[in-house]
C-alpha cells in the first residue's frame, strides 16, 4: 500500500471527526447548504463552482458564435440576425449599418467571453483547483480564502462584463485596439467593459499565485519535484505566466481607461499618443496568455494518455521541462501579432523567436505518441478526446508556422486562416482536452460514472462538427476571405455554409454531452474509488473525496506513472494486471 498511517495527526493541526464526510454531503436544509457553498474555502467546492461558471460562460460565448455563423450563412448582411440586431442597435431598422454594428457587437461578445471568462480561467480554476491539492496530497491550496475571493471576483467581473456588452454597443473586438477603442461610441459601456476585464485579471493572479505557493510548500512527504504528476507541472508553468503577464494588461487597461476618461494622450495618436505602444502592451499579456490557455490542457493530456494506456509516460522530464520552456518562450514572441506595425528587423527577430515555440511543443507531442506505443489502450471517452487532441492540436500547431513566417504571413494574416489556426489550437486543443479532463475526473468529482456509450457518440459528433466548422476556414483564408466581416463575395458561400452547418453539429454534440452529464448526476452508477486505475494521489481518496481530502496524510512511495510495477490503489490486481516481471524494463 502506498498510504500509511504515520500517526502524525496531532501535528497536522488536529484531526477533526466532523470533516470526515464526503465534501458533497449537504449541510442541513437547502438554505444552509447554499450558504455553506457560498462561504466555503474548500478547494473542491470552489473548483466545482468554477467549473459550472466557466461552462455557463462557454455556453454564452457559444451562442454568440452560432449567431455569427447564422449571419455568415448568406453572403449579404441578412435578416435572421438582422431583425434582432435592429432592436439591439437602437431600433434603426434593419439598415446595413445596424446589422454590421450588431455583427461586430456579437463578435466582441464571443471573443471577450471566450477569452477572458471561459478559456483563461477554464482549466486551472476548475479542474486545477479541484485536483492540484489532491494530486499533491495536500488538504487545500495555500491560501483558501484568496481562492474563494478569486471565484467571487470572477463571477462579479463576468456578469458585469456580459451585462455591459449585452446592453451597450461595445464593438471593438476583444483586442480593443487603439485608436478605435479610444474613439468609438458607447463611452460608459466601453469603460465598464474595460473595468470588468481589469477586475477579472485579479482572479487570474489569485489563482496563479495560490498554485505556485501550493506546489512549493504543500507537496506530500516523499514527493520531490520530479515525482509530481505532469498536470501539476503544466499548472505550475501556467501559474508563472498568469502571475507575470496579467499585471501588464492591468496597467494597460488602466491607461486605456484614463485615455477614455481624460484623453491622456498615451495611446490615442490624435493626441500625440502611440497606438503601437498599446499593441505592445496588449500582446505582451495576450500572447503569453494563449499558453495559459493551452498548457493546462497539455497537462490533462499527459495524465489521460498515461492512465488510459497503462503506460509510463515516455520522457517525463522532457515533458515537464518543455512546459517551463513554453512558459519562458511565451514572453518573447508577442511581436508576431504586429508584424506590420514594427520595423523589419524587429519583425524578423520575432519571427525567429516564434519558431522556438514549436520545439517544446513538438517535444510534448512526440513523447505523447511514444507513450501510446505498446500501451494497452482503453478507448474510453477521455482517451478518445486525448487522441482527438493529438490530431487537432497538431494541425493547429503546424498551421501556426506559416503564420509565424514573414513571407507567408503577408498573404495569410487577417484572414480566415488565422481564425482556423487559432480555433484548432484553442478549441481543438484546449476545449477538447478540457472535455477529456472532465470525463477523466468526473467520477472523482461527483462520485458517479457517466454513460460511456453516449459520451463516445457525443465526442464523435463534436469531432465531426468541429472539423466541418473550422477546416473549411483554412480554405476560406487561403482564398482570401478576410476575418471579422459580416458580408463576403458570393464565391465563398459554399465553404461558409459548410462551416455554419458544422457549427450546429458541434453545438448538437455539446447538448448530447450536457444530457450525459445530467443523466450521470441524477441516475449515474456509483463510481468506485479508482475506476481508471490511476496512480496519482487523487485516486487514493474516497470515491467522493472527504472534506479534508485524505484520511491520513499520504506518503509518496512510487512515481505517478509506475504502471508496470504498482497495483493501483483501491483496485483489484485482476482488474489492472501487472505485466510479468521479466518483461518489465525500468526506464529512468
Amino acid at each position: 500500500m502506498t498510504t500509511v498511517d504515520r500517526g502524525l495527526d496531532h501535528l497536522q493541526g488536529g484531526h477533526d471527526e466532523h470533516h470526515d464526510v464526503p465534501y458533497l454531503t449537504a449541510k442541513g436544509g437547502p438554505i444552509a447548504t447554499v450558504w455553506d457553498w457560498m462561504t466555503t474555502v474548500d478547494h473542491k467546492k470552489i473548483g466545482v463552482m468554477y467549473l459550472f461558471s466557466v461552462l455557463f460562460m462557454f455556453f454564452l460565448g457559444g451562442v454568440a458564435a452560432l449567431m455569427l455563423r447564422i449571419e455568415l450563412f448568406e453572403p449579404t448582411r441578412q435578416t435572421a440576425a438582422g431583425l434582432t440586431g435592429a432592436a439591439f442597435a437602437g431600433g434603426e431598422g434593419s439598415s446595413v449599418g445596424a446589422v454590421g454594428k450588431f455583427y461586430n457587437t456579437v463578435m466582441t461578445m464571443h471573443g471577450a467571453i471566450m477569452v477572458f471568462m471561459f478559456i483563461v480561467p477554464g482549466i486551472p480554476a476548475s479542474l486545477g483547483n479541484f485536483f492540484l491539492p489532491l494530486q499533491l496530497g495536500a488538504k487545500d491550496v495555500a491560501f483558501p480564502r484568496m481562492n474563494l475571493a478569486s471565484w467571487y471576483i470572477y463571477v462579479f467581473g463576468s456578469f458585469f462584463g456580459v451585462y455591459v456588452i449585452l446592453t451597450g454597443v461595445v464593438d471593438t473586438c476583444w483586442t480593443v485596439s487603439s485608436p478605435y477603442s479610444t474613439s468609438t461610441t458607447g463611452q460608459p459601456q466601453f469603460i465598464a467593459m474595460i473595468l470588468a476585464v481589469f477586475v477579472l485579471g485579479f482572479s487570474s493572479i489569485f489563482t496563479g499565485l495560490n498554485f505556485i505557493v501550493t506546489v512549493h510548500k504543500l507537496r506530500a512527504p516523499g514527493m520531490g519535484w520530479f515525482d509530481m504528476p505532469l498536470f501539476i507541472w503544466a499548472l505550475y508553468a501556467t501559474s508563472i505566466i498568469q502571475v507575470l503577464a496579467t499585471p501588464v494588461i492591468g496597467v494597460t487597461f488602466l491607461l486605456l481607461l484614463f485615455e477614455r476618461l481624460f484623453q491622456i494622450g498615451i495611446f490615442d495618436p490624435g493626441l500625440g499618443g502611440d497606438p503601437v505602444l498599446f499593441q505592445h502592451f496588449f500582446w505582451f499579456y495576450s500572447h503569453p496568455v494563449v499558453y495559459v490557455m493551452i498548457l493546462p490542457a497539455m497537462g490533462i493530456i499527459s495524465e489521460v494518455l498515461a492512465v488510459h494506456s497503462r503506460k509510463r509516460l515516455f520522457g517525463y522530464r522532457a515533458i515537464a521541462f518543455s512546459s517551463l520552456a513554453i512558459a519562458a518562450v511565451s514572453f518573447l514572441v508577442w511581436g508576431h501579432h504586429m508584424f506590420t506595425s514594427q520595423g523589419e528587423l524587429a519583425a524578423t527577430i520575432f519571427s525567429a523567436l516564434t519558431f522556438l515555440v514549436a520545439i517544446p511543443t513538438a517535444v510534448k507531442v512526440f513523447n505523447w505518441i511514444a507513450t501510446l506505443y505498446k500501451g494497452s489502450i482503453a478507448l474510453t471517452t477521455p482517451m478518445l478526446y486525448a487522441m482527438q487532441f493529438l490530431f487537432l492540436f497538431s494541425i493547429g500547431g503546424l498551421t501556426g508556422l506559416p503564420l509565424g513566417a514573414l513571407s507567408t504571413d503577408l498573404h495569410l494574416h487577417d484572414s480566415y486562416f488565422v481564425v482556423a489556426h487559432f480555433h484548432y489550437v484553442m478549441f481543438g486543443g484546449t476545449v477538447i482536452a478540457f472535455l477529456a479532463g472532465i470525463h477523466h475526473w468526473w467520477p472523482k468529482m461527483f462520485g458517479r460514472m457517466y454513460n460511456e456509450f453516449w459520451a463516445k457518440i457525443a465526442s464523435l459528433i463534436v469531432f465531426v462538427g468541429f472539423n466541418l466548422t473550422f477546416f473549411t476556414q483554412f480554405f476560406l483564408g487561403t482564398q482570401g476571405m478576410p476575418r471579422r466581416y459580416a458580408s463576403y463575395v458570393d464565391d465563398f458561400q459554399l465553404l461558409h455554409q459548410i462551416s455554419t452547418v458544422g457549427s450546429f453539429i458541434l453545438a448538437a454534440g455539446f447538448f448530447v454531452h450536457l444530457f450525459v452529464f445530467i443523466h450521470s448526476l441524477v441516475v449515474g452508477e456509483r463510481a468506485g474509488q479508482n475506476p481508471w486505475g490511476g496512480l496519482t494521489l487523487e485516486w487514493e481518496t474516497d470515491p467522493v473525496p472527504l472534506e479534508h481530502n485524505f484520511r491520513h496524510e499520504p506518503v509518496v512511495r512510487h512515481g505517478p506513472y509506475d504502471f508496470e510495477s504498482v497495483v493501483p490503489p483501491g483496485c483489484d490486481e485482476k482488474e489492472f494486471p501487472l505485466p510479468p516481471k521479466d518483461e518489465v524494463r525500468t526506464i529512468h
Binding site: N210, I212, L218, G250, Q263, L271
Partner: protein, 228 residues
C-alpha cells in the same frame, strides 16, 4: 526568557494572541505557513513591479518620441520636494524594518512607536505631495490629458508629460494610501498582542509591501525630477 518559560508550561488563556496562534488546518506547521505566505508576498511584489514597468516603459517611449516636452516637463518639478519625500520614505522603510525586528524580540512598546513613525512618514509623504506638488500644479492648469490648460506651455506635447507624471505618481500614491491602511491595521492588531517572536507573518508581509512602495519611488524620483 519569558517566552521560553511559558512555552514549556503550555499555552494558557492569558497568553498574548501571538502565542495562541494556530496555523491554518491545511498547513503542517507554523513555519511552513510562514514560508508559504512569504513566497506569496514575493510573487505579489513581482506583479507590482510588472504593473509599474508598464508605466516606466511608457515613460521611455515618450521620452524618445517627444524629448523636448519631457525635458520641459521635468523642469516644472522642484527636485527639493522630491528629495524630501525620498528621505521621508526611506526613514519609513527603516522604521518598518525596525518594527518587525521589535516584534521578533518581543519589544512591543518599541514596535508600536516604530509603526506609528512609519504611518506618520507615509502621511507626511502624501501631505507634501498634495500640498506642494499636486494642488499648486493642478491649479496652474498643469493637468493631465484634456484637462491640461497651462497657458505658458512651450512645447507641443506637455499634456502627455503631465499624463505620465500624474498616472505614475498617482498609482504610486494609491499604493501609499493602501499601505497606510495596512499599517494602521498592523498598529491595531499589534496593540492587541497579535504579533510576537513566533508569529509575525502579517508584519513581514506588509513590511515587504511597504519596501516595494518605497523602491518604486526611488526609481520615479530620478526619472521624473532629476533627468532632464
Amino acid at each position: 526568557m519569558a517566552t521560553i518559560d511559558s512555552k514549556a508550561s503550555g499555552v494558557a488563556k492569558q497568553d498574548p494572541l501571538w502565542k495562541r496562534y494556530a496555523p491554518g488546518h491545511h498547513w503542517r506547521n507554523q513555519d511552513d505557513e510562514f514560508d508559504g505566505a512569504k513566497i506569496g508576498i514575493w510573487l505579489f511584489l513581482a506583479t507590482e513591479i510588472l504593473l509599474f514597468s508598464g508605466l516606466f516603459c511608457a515613460y521611455a517611449v515618450f521620452r524618445m518620441l517627444y524629448p523636448e516636452s519631457i525635458a520641459q516637463g521635468s523642469q516644472y518639478l522642484d527636485w527639493r520636494f522630491g528629495f524630501i519625500n525620498t528621505v521621508v520614505l526611506l526613514i519609513s522603510s527603516f522604521t518598518m524594518a525596525m518594527a518587525i525586528r521589535d516584534v521578533q524580540l518581543n519589544k512591543q512598546g518599541w514596535a508600536t512607536i516604530n509603526l506609528v513613525i512609519t504611518l506618520v512618514c507615509a502621511t507626511g509623504f502624501l501631505a507634501i505631495k498634495f500640498a506642494f506638488e499636486y494642488i499648486p500644479k493642478w491649479s496652474e492648469g498643469k493637468r493631465l490629458g484634456n484637462l491640461f490648460n497651462y497657458p505658458y506651455a512651450t512645447t507641443d506635447h506637455e499634456h502627455v508629460w503631465w499624463s505620465i507624471y500624474y498616472m505614475s505618481t498617482g498609482i504610486h500614491a494609491t499604493h501609499v494610501i493602501i499601505g497606510m491602511g495596512l499599517i494602521a491595521w498592523l498598529i491595531y492588531r499589534q496593540r492587541k498582542g497579535a504579533y510576537g517572536p513566533t508569529h509575525y507573518t502579517m508584519m513581514e508581509g506588509v513590511g515587504l509591501y511597504w519596501h516595494i512602495v518605497d523602491l518604486v519611488w526611488i526609481f520615479l524620483f530620478p526619472l521624473l525630477y532629476l533627468v532632464h
